[in-house]
Symmetry: C2
């Protein structure tokens, strides 16, 4: 294998940037702290990481992270690009993660380090599972074409029984929803065991499907051990369900791959814990880099937060995340993952989201934006549908609200 | 299930601490941003997280993390303890992780949040896999009693062929080593495929075992997909190997559990990537908390760095990590995981490590501390054995060096 994969990092350091970049490259391949006799030129030629590019980004005030060498010296920020031979890892996402994000954040030449992007050779992309359903498969299963899926999440997050969950699903299906998901806290607790939930919810969804001809997609959170996830997936499939959900940071890439290789349904991947991986800007991961590993592993849907969300993430960050999911992994194997917008979303954000993204290929999930609508859940769903139709037709919110009582009510409630 | 599990966090916030703690508890259980009709008192009684304790820790200068509400207001730090009913998650480590470390680090009432400890009810500890070998099992398999295992890592980390690796193993076995591990970068690359490595290394180890009566423990890095890991484990077992290794952050808790439930050998768990989870002190995890999840999942050995290491971690941090691994998970089911000291370790640190820890139940791994010894690897291993024997006998380094040429040489080289 002569192909190489590349990682971009934003590095902050008080060392010469070239030195720090070379140290990282060495630590993550054939080098070590001390020169060892076995590190021959031939070995380096076949296995060493390379510093491909360094782009200076200017001075920074000081070390963003504690413990770095030369804390009092001037610090600089630079974008560095490293590459590794694919032969170091083979086609193995868990080992690629250990290579691009292993023991390097704690190097003491590092005063800040963030993995900002990854690029993979076609050989790796083609041989990885990638989304088995993605946009087209999700549209086929949900019967929603040409516009975002309007979604919601069962609330309270946890504590409802299976029967209470099914009653909520009945209400939401009657309201015209396209997509419903479990909360990430709701997997297989004693109040609402997974099997009970599937057996209670699916008859409701099927009854509405018989009425409307459209089967609402429900993402059942099957997060758990491998055998549990496989069994739960099989139950959902057997009961006519069309989606399963897992928590990425709980199952890990190895757990995700086991699920993907077994699953015959779209996998809705939840990113809970993303905050600990990303919230400090000089540490961890940009979503663009992190999400590519999960896309390669087969995530069909991934969360990106939403505009004017209730968390601390900026609109630009959410949009960058969504754009990255909608960008191809490689020319031959795009592996597009459907972005899921959520958190404080209402009909109002549909206009900005469309304006910024210019794509209908997303799941737009609202909780209070549906349930707290003045005309009830049906009004809430209608307001979201009308908002997206109007936005995609080039209308403003105010123009559209004149012809849509549901939108007008949303404007009064959420405006 | 009426048992509850508890998590301690160090919270920094500009909100009243009680308000922020209640927000986190709500977000991670039955609450949400907006009051929802289904959140009844009965539901809260069965499923809500509780704020158990708040201990004020004083003022902080300002928000450690960007994006928090009231960035210009005074900030305080507090240790908060939350608890959840075990019924919310069941006996499910992946779902417990989503509960204690899910969507809370990005809440905008949070200007800093670090998960510092976890406590689990006996019912959970007893029902989790826990280390299947731990200290006693590792001592039985390696034939090392009453002192630390002296270990090393194959270097260069990656690039050696299977044959070159076996030649290095031969040298190290002849030098008297107890434990050898693959680097976390070395799993199944094309230069040194996993199967080739096992087939090349195990005959060397077995030949030395026939000579000495003691089989060197080699931790083969089998990180990969579930089926790959199971097959690789079976090969190691069938070839007479006594340990396998996996990268925690690559395989995830679900991957680890799949390996543990299958494995008949100790699992040496590598923490590469720990830096992105921990390096900013106001974000992420303390090792004490994080490692408990992996101990419950069955890690027999875990890395803790070492004194005067080459990374940016303080000695006190490494020692706290080691002490936590050597502390019981519960009275009835201690689940002790053997700490692995490494990074820049030589005979010199043995004295400080013993003085601070007062336990021989660890793996003490050195690279340059063995290979760069003036008398070669045999001198390096001997210096580490002599150092630990002397330290445990209450001697100082200088005293012991008088009677040990290997220690005297180590003092000259590394002192």
């Amino acid at each position: 294998m002569t192909d190489r994969f590349e990682a971009d990092y934003i590095l902050e350091t008080a060392m010469p940037v070239e030195t720090a970049a070379a140290t990282i490259a060495g630590e993550q391949s054939s080098g070590t702290f001390m020169a060892v006799p076995g590190e021959t030129e031939a070995l380096k030629a076949r296995s060493a990481a390379r510093v491909e590019r360094i782009v200076d980004m200017g001075d920074v005030a000081g070390p963003a992270l504690p413990g770095a060498a030369r804390a009092d010296a001037p610090h600089r920020r630079a974008r560095i690009t490293l590459s590794w031979p694919l032969g170091n890892t083979g086609i193995s996402l868990p080992n690629i993660l250990a290579t691009v994000a292993g023991n390097l954040f704690e190097l003491n030449c590092v005063a800040g380090l963030r993995l900002s992007d990854l690029r993979f050779p076609d050989a790796l992309v083609a041989a990885s599972p990638r989304p088995a359903f993605g946009v087209d498969g999700t549209r086929d299963l949900s019967g929603v074409q040409g516009r975002p899926l309007i979604g919601t999440i069962i609330k309270p997050s946890i504590g409802l029984t299976a029967g209470e969950t099914a009653a909520m699903v009945d209400l939401l299906c009657a309201a015209g929803i396209d997509f419903i998901k479990d909360d990430e806290l709701q997997a297989d607790g004693s109040v609402c065991p997974f099997e009970d939930r599937v057996h209670a919810v699916m008859p409701v969804i099927k009854a509405h499907a018989e009425r409307t001809g459209k089967k609402v997609m429900y993402a059942f959170n099957l997060t758990g051990e491998v055998d549990e996830m496989r069994a739960r997936h099989d139950l959902v499939l057997q009961q006519g369900g069309t989606c399963v959900m897992a928590s990425a940071n709980s199952v890990g890439l190895t757990g995700m791959l086991a699920l993907r290789r077994h699953a015959q349904l779209p996998i809705h991947l939840h990113r809970n814990g993303w905050g600990y991986l990303s919230r400090h800007p000089a540490l961890g991961f940009d979503y663009t880099a992190w999400s590519k590993l999960w896309r390669l592993a087969g995530a069909d849907h991934m969360h990106v937060n939403g505009l004017r969300n209730k968390f601390c993430e900026s609109d630009e960050s959410s949009l960058t995340s969504a754009r990255s999911l909608l960008s191809p992994l490689s020319a031959g194997n795009p592996g597009i993952t459907m972005p899921v917008f959520s958190s404080g979303q209402t009909a109002l954000q549909a206009f900005d989201t469309w304006a910024a993204l210019q794509s209908p290929d997303l799941i737009f999930a609202a909780g209070g934006g549906i349930m707290a609508h003045a005309d009830g859940p049906a009004g809430g769903v209608r307001s979201l549908q009308d908002a997206w139709a109007a936005a995609m037709a080039g209308l403003t919110l105010e123009q559209a609200a004149k012809d849509s009582p549901a939108l007008a009510a949303a404007l009064r409630t959420y405006g």
